[in-house]
Symmetry: C2
Subunit: 461 residues, 2 copies
């Protein structure tokens, strides 16, 4: 608030004005004209300054100075706040100054009055922050990341910036990006015997991270509970509205967790708590996004329910018993399809943790059941509309079990050493941040909840 005073002098942003102003207050506002109506004596301007989706009206007298105003002009207006007949505050401006020329005459792609299809809006990535629902989604995203950091800090987790460039190739799955310096002369200059020239910058082939988990574990062994929240990358060729080549992952690692039910309890508590904070800080933006995407359909019913836990066998039984309802095949060796995930949620009338999975379906680092090697203490969290939101597990803390795992990747001697020098009972999970935003807002395409989406054949700007 101090800042706004200092830098804007008498200028205020519309979200603040709408909350706090009294009739009669003197005030300045700056923003884009979204809509303009010319009546006999006055001109009525709807103005947008990027702070809210709420409409704010400015009333200016019709005269030579104001007749050039058009929708799309950037203006500065000063005057007095009045209560309008419809019950909202409006500004009766003594003075209106154009800060930049109108932009509608020369090919600006968005008409302020028109609703444009998301595909069309996405074509103008550099300009789309001026579109209502994109601005609302970006403010929502900001408040969501803030809620995550607040919650984790309150619970004494330490944030770790896990590396973006890594030698870990994600179990050789092939869906990774590689990185090298652009400059050939740098590679030549840095070359060393026994290192292929293209790897000479780091002396090793390197990749963009797909997960910070293993690195996070190495930090948790010294610091206790940790988390990371940053970009992750997947080189897949997919047009799915739930996948991006560059996306944000939230991951947490917790020490001294001995059973999945403790992990489930934490996850439910965390997701409910951050969602509650977002409802408090961003109710207008959230409603706007939901209404824009879904109309009046209610999407946050899962917040008030107790979440359900099923083991994999129970979940599979439900799917098999209802096999006639699916277009997708039932594949007990490969888990559930999105359709089946959503059915489980619908069937249970609540979000579902599916726990205790077949070992063969899950990665090497998950803890084997000590009574049945074919089971790992893994979980998937299934939610309405997005399906799988989180995956997690207890981590295998026995060095020899890890060392003998048939799918232990090369180059992870360091990971085994964490256990060799005192294996802790740890557990953790990851959550796709964009999917969480889709779950909250109802926004259908993941490309509209991230500022600069990257996907096959598209890396604009």
């Amino acid at each position: 608030m101090l800042l706004i005073k200092r830098f804007g002098s008498t200028f205020q942003r519309i979200n603040t004005i709408c909350q706090a102003k009294q009739p009669g207050d003197s005030l300045g506002v700056r923003g884009w004209i979204k809509n303009i109506r010319r009546l006999k004596n006055n001109i009525f301007l709807d103005i947008n300054d990027g702070s809210t989706t709420q409409k704010f009206q400015i009333v200016v007298p019709k005269n030579d100075a104001t007749k050039a105003l058009t929708a799309g002009s950037l203006i500065k207006a000063t005057g007095k706040v009045q209560l309008a007949p419809h019950g909202h505050y409006e500004l009766h401006a003594d003075e209106v100054e154009t800060l930049a020329d109108g932009h509608l005459t020369e090919g600006f792609p968005f008409s302020p009055k028109q609703h444009h299809a998301p595909e069309y809006v996405r074509d103008y990535l550099h300009l789309r922050s001026r579109v209502d629902y994109i601005a609302a989604a970006m403010r929502l995203r900001h408040k969501a990341q803030k809620a995550l950091h607040d919650f984790m800090d309150n619970n004494e987790f330490v944030q770790i910036h896990t590396p973006i460039i890594t030698t870990n190739d994600c179990e050789g799955a092939g869906e990774v990006f590689t990185v090298r310096p652009d400059s050939e002369s740098l590679l030549n200059q840095m070359s060393r015997p026994d290192v292929p020239k293209e790897n000479s910058y780091f002396d090793s082939k390197v990749y963009l991270t797909v997960s910070g988990q293993l690195h996070l574990e190495s930090m948790s062994y010294g610091l206790g509970n940790t988390y990371c929240f940053g970009p992750a990358f997947r080189a897949e060729n997919t047009k799915s509205p739930l996948h991006l080549s560059e996306f944000y992952m939230f991951e947490a690692e917790m020490t001294y967790i001995e059973d999945l039910s403790s992990l489930c309890t934490f996850m439910e508590k965390m997701i409910k708590s951050i969602s509650q904070q977002i409802l408090e800080t961003s109710s207008l933006d959230l409603e706007f996004c939901q209404k824009n995407a879904l109309g009046d359909k209610q999407v946050l019913g899962w917040l008030d329910k107790s979440w359900i836990t099923l083991n994999y066998k129970e979940a599979l039984d439900i799917i098999v018993r209802n096999k006639d309802k699916f277009k997708t095949a039932i594949t007990p060796d490969e888990g559930f399809s999105k359709e089946q995930e959503l059915f489980l949620v619908e069937h249970c009338k609540a979000p579902v943790f599916v726990i205790d999975w077949p070992s063969a379906q899950k990665p090497f680092y998950m803890k084997q059941s000590r009574t049945d090697d074919s089971i790992v203490h893994a979980l998937d969290l299934l939610m309405p509309s997005v399906g799988e939101l989180c995956g997690g597990s207890l981590r295998e803390c026995d060095e020899s079990r890890l060392r003998n795992h048939p799918h232990l990747p090369n180059g992870l001697e360091w990971y085994l050493e964490l256990r060799k020098y005192g294996g802790l009972p740890t557990a953790g999970f990851g959550m796709g941040f964009e999917r969480y935003l889709q779950l909250l807002s109802g926004i259908k395409n993941i490309r509209d909840v991230i500022p600069f989406p990257r996907y096959p054949h598209s890396c604009k700007m």
Copy 2:
């Protein structure tokens, strides 16, 4: 706090115990034994759980069950809190249980009692979170990022995740990394006519970001004030203790800023405010890092001073008048050396903003003086010990000046369009987060303020 209760039952972390416990309270503690002293009837354990650098002592009776304890064991102890003769709290344990085998016998690189050189500690990146000063630096880093997010949110900035993968090659400076999918078959599958095969994933050559500024500007044009805080990359061959190949940049863009003095005021206020918050949340870790790096030398004197502003000419005059004091050459066309930057700070006895630079030394997007084309409204912020901490400027808002700039890079038509459709007066700056941490903590090598340092010939884990 609820969380700790829920998951640790009676277990508490040492930082909490040291602050709040009363003699007589029952309590459990888990952690690594750092040091062990055996007296006649009792064994005294110094224990470390990653939550603090404060020592915490556990007293256990000498018996068959406890005699196997060694430094490096991971234990769980329960008992009652007592006030020790030296005035600190300690735990008189009824029960001590070993959670994992001791790790000192088979080649663990760190002796709990010994001080190891930073270069040695860095060789064991995966284990170094168990080393006191590294754990303190990571907690400090966490609280510093939290302070940044808190400050920006309080001041109504919107955080934007600017893209990591970008088509912007940083003005062709050659110090960039390129990115491509690892899989040849994916590239074949995605290939299109007229696109070189190695670029077929995105239909374009792509790079790791060096700065989020230009993308941030496109968001500020719709949303108002924005910031980003994330990884940035530089493919340089340097061994400097102030440079990394992967580092974290904080960048802010502000709308309706018409002069550099407003920007300087904001920057001084922000850096002082977040530093103050870190002093409040992390005083013990900060002191520990400073003491470890510098002994008793005071490093935060700049917090209490008013910062100085010099224009480039004035700063150059000071350097020229003192030319006998420098090992480095004076190069008026290339700015100042680190030695000269530190001299300016020393000379002014305060941090220094150097403003109004020769256009030829600065990038195309900085705003030209309207009275003298050879000057741009740019600033560098110089600080003690690290030299340049921040760079910033007013942004050129005139499309035709930008379009005619001799160093306008290719591919930035979108950046020009931001202005074409209504150029705002905007300004912004960037701050290297690791350098800020070095400034605060006195830690000499940048590789020790980031969890997983990446630098030439080194990308461990």
